[in-house]
């Protein structure tokens, strides 16, 4: 399949990019690495008149770190930039593990972190070719009036399948969003609408310019585990990110945050994780969180590879293993 025809524009500043995106509204799409978007264009799932490439904007690919400010990731920084960054490797293992689990090394060199956060939702009734869609009524995500996944539903049930979003949510990341008028900063979770059709809340003219992650606390540990059929290429069928901090003695949780992906229409931050604060590292305390996470995971029959019942069953097992891994790294920490 060839790409559809579009006009390609590569603005030189964030302001210019925002203005162009605002001006053309729904006719324009911003592109960073393109590894998700180009496939969708080839399948004619999107047919923009304008592609606004962010590549020509200077200094947008910077990754910086300071002990006081934490980590800042520019919008054009690639997944590989994170994976190969020694500071990120040392301080944010969850982020490295999540980035390493995306696609293949080739895709990690092309794909950006910000692009991965803005990954479009997936559904096997949607991510198909024009021939596949021909002769069928369009679903909500294609602009129609039906959901094939949840029969009788009034909304789209496509699934969010990004890997780095749960990692960054667990780390408490914020994003800086460019706007023609005034850029703003917001918590990462506010990026996600929970609407399968339009999974992110960015409005015309807005795009992520920067992701900020707080500095790592002492005695902290983090980990990401991904359920998939193969050890490469595949999108997650479930992803679990855990970030915890222990008290000085290492006997109780000082804080904990947990996020899931490929379990809902958006990545989910499990609020109950905060209840671990002050609790001992016993299985009893953790069990409650496992239950809470499981009850919030709503996998549906729209991803290939494993059925939703199995994916839901795996929440507890994967989460427990991820917590164990994060605990191990926290206990080794200073």
């Amino acid at each position: 399949m060839k790409l559809p025809k579009f006009q390609y524009i590569a603005p030189k500043s964030t302001k210019e990019a925002s203005s162009l995106l605002k001006e053309h509204g729904e006719k324009a799409i911003a592109v960073a690495g393109g590894s998700d978007l180009l496939v969708n264009l080839k399948n004619r799932l999107k047919s923009p008149e304008y592609l606004i490439d962010l590549k020509a904007i200077p200094k947008l690919d910077k990754v910086t770190f300071s002990k006081s400010e934490g980590l800042t990731i520019g919008a054009m920084a690639t997944l590989r930039d994170l994976i190969e960054n020694p500071v990120v490797r040392e301080n944010y293992p969850v982020l490295v593990q999540a980035a390493e689990s995306v696609g293949t090394p080739q895709l990690q060199y092309m794909g950006t972190v910000a692009g991965n956060l803005c990954l479009d939702n997936r559904c096997y009734y949607y991510n198909q070719s024009p021939l596949w869609h021909a002769g069928r009524d369009a679903c909500f995500k294609l602009g129609g009036k039906v959901c094939y996944v949840v029969k009788g539903s009034k909304v789209c049930y496509s699934t969010y399948c990004g890997d780095t979003a749960p990692a960054l949510l667990a780390l408490g990341a914020t994003i800086k969003v460019s706007d023609p008028v005034r850029s703003k900063t917001m918590p990462l979770q506010d990026l996600y609408s929970g609407d399968g059709k339009n999974p992110n809340t960015l409005k015309a003219g807005q795009f992520i310019t920067e992701i900020s992650v707080p500095p790592p606390a002492g005695k902290s540990g983090s980990a990401y585990m991904k359920l998939r059929r193969r050890q490469a290429i595949d999108f997650p069928l479930l992803g679990v990110a855990v970030n915890i901090q222990l008290d000085g003695k290492g006997n109780t949780f000082a804080s904990a945050s947990i996020a899931l992906t490929a379990a809902e229409r958006k990545p989910i931050l499990i609020a109950e994780a905060s209840k671990l604060k002050g609790q001992s590292l016993s299985d009893g305390a953790i069990a409650e969180v496992l239950e809470a996470a499981t009850s919030q995971a709503h996998p549906v029959e729209n991803l290939l590879g494993l059925p939703p019942s199995y994916r839901k069953q795996m929440v507890k097992i994967y989460l427990k293993r991820t917590i164990d891994q994060a605990l191990q790294s926290a206990q080794k920490g200073k």
Binding site: M1, K2, V39, Y124, Y125, N127, Q128, S129, L131, W132, A134, G135, R136, R229, R230, Q231, A232, I233, D234, F235, L304, G305, L306, P307, S309, Y310, Q313, M314, I317
Partner: protein, 760 residues
């Protein structure tokens, strides 16, 4: 034996150009004025075509021709005589999603794609059937009007007396197994360039496994004589059985070239490869097998339902191969096998590594382990006890010329430390074995042999003109090794001339694990003719008779006196200066001494000139909480005759193990209303290098076979066959559950563990 060239790890001749990016694959070939073709395919699994309007597409700028089934002669054709069941482009109705409806030739791909959108087709959807069992039921929607019950073909093969046999048994088991479609997934998609010449002949550049088979396949649908069709094979980026057949897209490009007078290129998209070429047949196998208490196999009855998709393809053969591959590699006195191949409204099935063997061996080898357990006999012992051996007189009149199957089994057992570890490893950790026999060089129609001409150039270069087809497996290199050994010339002086039906002699190409036998034997015979002429010319100079001469390592010398000789190049000069006819030419032909009726109609007798035997062991760890399986090791003992090139054999084994892993765990085609859901390399799961075993040792067992060149047999295709059952048996050893419906997935394993209860 001590060889000069054979058995050495000579690098594949095609490796340097591939590594440098200089190989000419079809996509690299561009002809002047070339047009690009795209095919409009059916979005419905079964529908009447009410009308086709191509007028808008025809007037689209850049479009040179548009055709539908109504614009070309309505000739029904097929890949076997049993199944002339398709038109090149659909007439009156479409039978699967992906069926060919119309085609466009335009100045570039984009324009051709745009034009497809402008073709208006009105369909009236018909009820469709996707499950062979549904399709066979009375009242099911008929896919081909002249095929009642949607039955494509049926076979019955038997020998001995199954009824009496079962009466003699102490244990009879009946189990049902099922398999799913797998695709060849070659890296290079299918394609061709057709050029209809002004004299009415056709030249086609094609990525294919057999130029001569393609030439024959194109003739009758196009109404051309064979000598009016010339096929030029491009470098082939993977075949695995998927590029053997003639496809509608090739005929479409020929028609479009005829209409435009310009070369027309078509390269399928990945989606088109998945829906528009072939798959391994999905099957349902009911296997009833009887044993005596002492572990003697007595009788077997197989009931087989095969889903062939919407057309016959080359498939009828597949059920026969399934039945023959149950008849090997164990001694089996009483046998009955009934197979029914059923049409469904799904993409067409065809040959894929093993062509019917992997499905039935998965069933048989799984069941054999269950029987062994019930009889309290070790799985290794029960296999050795029933193993076929050299010279075994098969009740169906198959002859076994070379077989070290028992040694294969013992080698695997030893490598897995079977005695110490079987049934004794910690819970979740297990080992298993699977076995198979395989044909080497089947004959699917008359004259399915190979021929070669070797000519010697004035300066002593050795030119091998062969009709055989290297599809990446390295047969050109191996044939050059055979000829260098036979002629005694240097390997580097050999030139392979292949792939063009106009300039090379006939050979039926790569299929049926026979290319080394066909191409190799033909070239070896041609080399012998050349050698005879050379030795006769040289003998007077060395003052001995030709019989006393030996050719070896680039020299011709008196046997036993390596100093008394001359170089190969000097010998050529002597021949020339003696006024002998020029150039020196030798020809060779080889055809398996196999009756065609055995292969096509299931008569008793030899259906393959010889057979290879394989034992494979697997070691796995199963995560009982998640059902995920890690394959630690796959060990292959392949009794592949004389090894011609160890590195290439190893490459074949490794590739086959990955194919087997794909079949066992990953590869399937879920669909909605006949629309395959996974038509990309993202969604169609082929195991990656990270998903393979940590170790894949190959234990090559050499046995000299009287039929193969220098005693060589097949090495590759057969090794995919036992992988799936070896893994299934290892999983059983690890956790005590069996998944009889492929593929084996984590959720199925967890469910099976839950059913098993307490122990989980």
């Amino acid at each position: 034996m001590d060889f000069e060239v054979i058995g050495k790890n000579i690098p594949n001749l095609s490796a340097p150009p591939k590594a440098q990016g200089r190989s000419k694959y079809l996509d690299d070939i561009k002809l002047q004025d070339m047009l690009y073709c795209k095919v409009l395919r059916s979005p419905y699994p079964h529908a009447k075509i009410l009308s086709i309007d191509t007028s808008r597409a025809k007037s689209h700028p850049g479009v040179k021709a548009v055709i539908s089934g109504y614009d070309i002669p309505p000739i029904k054709w097929g890949n076997t005589h049993q199944g002339f069941d398709q038109y090149t482009l659909a007439i009156d109705k479409v039978r699967y999603v992906g069926d060919h409806v119309a085609a466009v030739a335009a100045i570039d791909e984009e324009t051709a794609e745009e034009a497809l959108d402008l073709i208006k087709v009105e369909y009236e959807p018909l009820p469709a059937v996707f499950d062979p069992l549904e399709s066979m039921k009375p009242g099911a929607s008929l896919i081909h009007e002249d095929r009642p019950g949607n039955i494509a073909n049926h076979i019955l093969k038997s020998f001995g007396d199954v009824g009496r046999g079962f009466q003699e048994c102490d244990l009879i088991r009946e189990d049902t197994y099922s398999t799913v479609p797998n695709n060849h997934a070659p890296m290079e998609p299918h394609g061709d360039i057709a050029l209809w010449n002004s004299d009415g002949s056709l030249t086609m550049w094609a990525t294919c496994q057999s130029p001569f088979m393609l030439r024959r396949g194109l003739c009758s649908p196009l109404g051309l004589a064979e000598d009016k069709v010339r096929i030029i094979r491009s470098e082939v980026g993977g075949g695995f059985g998927g590029k053997v057949e003639t496809f509608p897209f090739q005929l479409v490009s020929a028609h479009l070239s005829r209409l435009t007078g310009r070369p027309v290129k078509i390269i399928l998209t990945r989606e088109e490869v998945f829906i528009g070429t072939r798959h391994r047949h999905p099957t349902i196998i009911k296997l009833k097998t009887g044993f005596k208490k002492d572990g003697t196999l007595v009788a077997q009855d197989g009931q087989y339902i095969v889903d062939c998709g919407a057309h016959m393809g080359l498939g009828p053969l597949m059920m026969l191969i399934s039945s023959y591959m149950l008849m090997l590699p164990y001694i089996l006195p009483h046998f009955r096998f009934e197979g029914t191949r059923v049409y469904t409204n799904k993409p067409v099935c065809g040959p894929l590594r093993g062509h019917g063997a992997p499905q039935v061996r998965f069933a048989m080898e799984s069941q054999l382990d269950m029987i062994a357990e019930e009889l309290k006999i070790d799985p290794i012992e029960i296999r050795i006890k029933n193993a076929i051996y050299t010279g075994y007189k098969h009740p169906a009149k198959q002859e076994i010329f070379s077989c070290s199957f028992k040694e294969d089994i013992q080698a695997v057992a030893k490598a897995l430390k079977w005695k110490e570890r079987k049934g004794k490893l910690p819970e979740g950790h297990g080992i298993g074995i699977g076995c198979s026999g395989l044909f080497c060089g089947v004959k699917i129609m008359f004259h399915a042999g190979g021929s070669a001409v070797i000519s010697i150039s004035v300066d002593g270069g050795v030119n091998i003109h062969s009709g055989g087809t290297d599809i990446g497996q390295g047969v050109d290199t191996v044939v050059a090794q055979i000829v260098a050994e036979e002629l005694g010339c240097r390997f580097e002086d050999i030139h392979m001339i292949t792939g063009d039906t106009l300039t090379v002699p006939f050979d039926f190409g790569t299929f049926g694990s026979g290319v080394t036998l066909r191409m190799g034997n033909a070239a070896m015979n041609a080399a012998r003719e050349v050698k005879k002429q050379l030795l006769e010319a040289v003998a007077p100079r060395l003052e001995v008779s030709p019989q006393e001469l030996e050719a070896r390592g680039g020299k011709i010398f008196v046997r036993g006196q390596p100093d008394k000789g001359i170089s190969f190049k000097e010998a050529v000069k002597i021949y020339r200066y003696a006024g002998n006819p020029q150039p020196i030419v030798g020809r060779g032909y080889w055809e398996p001494d196999v009756e065609v009726g055995v292969m096509t109609a299931g008569k008793d007798g030899q259906f393959s000139p010889t057979y290879a035997f394989i034992a494979q062991g697997a070691e796995v760890k199963v995560d009982k909480e998640t059902g995920e399986v890690k394959v630690l090791k796959v060990i292959t003992a392949d009794e592949c005759g004389q090894i011609l090139n160890p590195t290439m054999v190893e490459g074949q084994l490794d590739g086959s193990v990955f194919g087997g892993l794909g079949m066992a765990f990953y590869e399937e085609h879920p669909h909605i209303d006949g629309k395959y859901l996974n038509t990309s390399f993202l969604d169609y799961l082929i195991p990656t290098s990270l998903d393979g075993p940590d170790e894949m040792p190959s234990l090559m067992i050499e046995t000299l076979d009287p039929k193969g060149p220098y005693g060589a047999k097949e090495a590759g295709e057969g090794n995919l066959v036992p992988t799936t059952p070896a893994i299934a048996n290892a999983i059983y050893d690890a956790i005590g559950v069996r998944i009889n419906e492929l593929p084996i997935t984590p959720d199925k394993i967890l469910k099976a563990l839950e059913r098993k209860g307490g122990k989980a």
